[in-house]
Each structure stands twice: as C-alpha cells, then as structure tokens.
Point group: C2
Chain length 222, copies 2
DNA sequence: ACCTGAACACCGTTCAAGT
DNA sequence: ACCTGAACACCGTTCAAGT
C-alpha cells in the first residue's frame, strides 16, 4: 500500500494535491476533532479540492485510515533503550507500544489490524518475540506469546477508551452505579462486597501489572 | 435502561409497536446482514412504521445497540457447570464469556462497555472474582485480575473478528505477506525466522493457552 | 400517548466529462 | 494524468403537526 510515488515518466496534467498533503491534512482534522470529524468531503474542502480528487490518491476511506495509522506510528514510535534481561525487554517493548496507542484515542476505530499495526511497529514485535525466545520459549510459542500480549494490550486500549467516551455521557455511569447498588448479595457475594470499591478500582491503571502477570505466566508454562 | 414498560395508567393512543418488537426485529436484521445493515430507517420499515416512531421507544441508535447486546446476552449466556477448583472455575467462566462473544461477530462494534457487558454477564464476573479470591488473592487484586482477563478476552475478540473481516478482502493479506517477505534479516532476525510460519501460527486458536498463562501469572505474583 | 411527514444536515462513492 | 460537477443512494435526528 505505501506505494512511493515513482518518478513521473509520462506527463499529463500536473498534480495539484499529493498523498502527503492529504494525509497531513487528515491528521490535523483528526487531532483537532477526532476520527468522527474525518469525512472525505470535509477533507477535500480542507485541502481545497473536491471529494473526487481524493479518490485519485487514495483507494477509499478505509485505506486513508490505514495510511493515517502508519503515518502516526512512523512519527511517534520512538525506540526506547532496552534492558539486557529478556523478560524486562518484553515488558518495556510492550509498554512502549501501549503508551503510543494510549496517547492516541482515535486509534481504536482503526485498530482493525490483525497483528501488526504498522511496519514501524515491527521492531517492537521483534523485541518481544526475541525476548520470549531469550527466556527459553521455542519460536512457535514465542509467536503465540506475542499474540497474547497483543490481545491484552489492544483490549486494554479498546476497553479503556470506550469507557472514557462513556464517562462523558454520565447516564451510563449512573446506570452502572444502579446495577452495583441492586446486586443480590446471596447470588453475587463477591461483587456485592466489592461494589463500593468497584469504581476506584476500575479507574486505576493496571496495564503494567497485568502485563507482568501475563509474561510470567507465558514463561512459566510447561 | 431496561425500564420495563409499567402498566399503562393514563390512556392515550394505544401503541402500535413495542420495544420488544423493535429489539426482536433489530436482532433479525443484524443476524441476517450484520450490524452494518441495521439503520433506523430500515428497522422502521421492517416493523412497518416510520423512523420517528422508533424514537418514542428508544432514545437513540446507541441505546438500541446496548439493548440489543443485553438481549443477546440474556438469550445466549447459559451458565455452565463449574468445576470445584477455583483456578479451573476462572478458566471455565472466562471461556464461556469468550465463546458467547466469539459466536456473535457484530458484538465488537458494541463492545464499548467498559467492564460489564450486560447484567446477564454478572454471574460470570462473580465466578471469576470469586475464583481468584479462592486462590488466595485479596479482593482488590481479584478485581484487577478480572479486569486483566476481560482486557485479554475483549482484545482477542476484537483482533480476531477484524482480522477475519480483512481476510475477506484479500489485498491486505497479500500486503502482509509482502511485508514478511521483505524483512531485513539483520534488523529483524526473529520475525524473518518466523516469517513463513507466521500465517498458520496466527490462524491457530490460542485463546485458552493465553488465558491459562494469564491466570497462572495473576496467581503467582507476590 | 403515540405516530406521521417533511425537512435538515449530512455521508461515501460512481460516472461522465473536462483540461 | 489529474481534476470537476452532478448525481445516486443512502444516513441519524429534529420539529411541528396530527389522531
């Protein structure tokens, strides 16, 4: 897909807008108002063109979003200094991906990639797989381990950002409180016990704890 | 939200359509053609009414989707026989939720609930939290543990169903192959090594393995 | 109380034509 | 080769009116 515009051989009408300009403008719109604001029509207006001109540079909206994600990853994923110990390397690499995603809430709508989100993220995947191998897992198990870490990471992001969106609208929060207040203690004793602590517990950031537990578990399995 | 229509005190025009009818019809549309097919206008047409009549029974489309999810959960979540051992209970309860979600691909779009997807799922949450407590975790840690399991489960569903959607459109698959074929072996040695096995490894269902690793890790942490 | 019709303010995408 | 205009086939939701 990132088909770098080759040197123009055959000449025709000179282009007025470029893929880069489209992506940069799309990025601005999304940063300012969320993905919901990004429509082909608005984008066209902002680059000073017509909706149909965009389709000359981008297959469809779906492709535009993937391009936007690649662009974001390429610009913001900075490779951290990694610790020597392989287990720590896994945690640091996964946390770096997690932080990049968490800083970018619109990503969820595009987080439709199945395992690699962007070629810029491959280095991080390499570190995680290599860390797992370094801890003694065979390559196949290491790849599966990476996937488990990715599920956990993607899940945390999706659940957290959608929960945050819900919080803006406080009807739902009230509804949740209601549910927890009306629990039947004989059927759901633990939830009843935790009911008044549920909200603060849920607000805590426990990504790292869960990640470490998962990594421990992956490494400990027979 | 599930505000059971109270016995009508004040009489006016008798209702022609009910919330139940709306939900049942919405369910049919979604089952037949996916969530993408569910629009207020189409739904109105199928219940033999006008778009605006729906807004008398449902606040907006968002509420309709939550209602649909509740309905689905209430109809399909069957409580399994649980093993006595608490660790096994956790695994069985989580797997049951996972299976229900996996059988229902449209869920992802609605999987916007932050931790409980529906009141019908509370019993499963109870079992997981109680299982973690039964294994010796304090209640707070058990709640966090449940959340980690939920992240992992939701992530697996989101990643898997979107990957499946992508597969229909095989351009992306080709793109992924391309990326793996062009890896720089000196920079990304492990990915290069795993490249030709990546697709089959990724196709394997490893939910249960990852879940067990996660549970082990949660229980082992100091 | 419940429903209707018409309208508002949008979408993504295709097609045929222009430069 | 690149861009435009007009059109197609839709959306969710509001408002004012009817029964």
């Amino acid at each position: 897909m990132p088909q770098p515009s080759a040197p123009r051989k055959t000449l025709g009408r000179p282009p007025r807008i470029s893929r880069e300009e489209i992506i940069a403008t799309a990025r601005r719109i999304v940063d300012e108002g969320g993905v919901g604001r990004l429509t082909m029509r608005r984008l066209a207006a902002e680059v000073g063109s017509t909706p149909m001109a965009l389709y000359h540079h981008v297959r469809d909206k779906e492709e535009l979003l993937v391009l936007l994600l690649d662009d974001y990853a390429a610009r913001t994923l900075r490779r951290p200094r990694l610790p020597d110990h392989p287990r720590e390397r896994i945690v640091v690499a996964a946390t770096a991906i997690h932080e990049a995603l968490a800083a970018c809430p619109w990503i969820v709508e595009v987080l439709t990639a199945d395992d690699l989100l962007s070629t810029s993220a491959l280095w991080f995947v390499e570190q995680i797989v290599d860390g797992l191998v370094g801890c003694g897992l065979p390559l196949d198990r290491a790849v599966h381990g990476y996937r488990a870490i990715w599920y956990y990471t993607a899940g945390e992001i999706v659940v957290r950002t959608t929960a945050a969106r819900r919080r803006a609208d406080d009807d739902r929060a009230t509804y949740r409180e209601q549910v927890f207040a009306d629990l039947d203690p004989s059927e759901l004793p633990r939830l009843t016990q935790a009911a008044d602590r549920w909200a603060p517990l849920t607000a805590e950031d426990t990504y790292r704890d869960g990640l470490q537990a998962l990594v421990d578990g992956l490494l400990a399995r027979r």
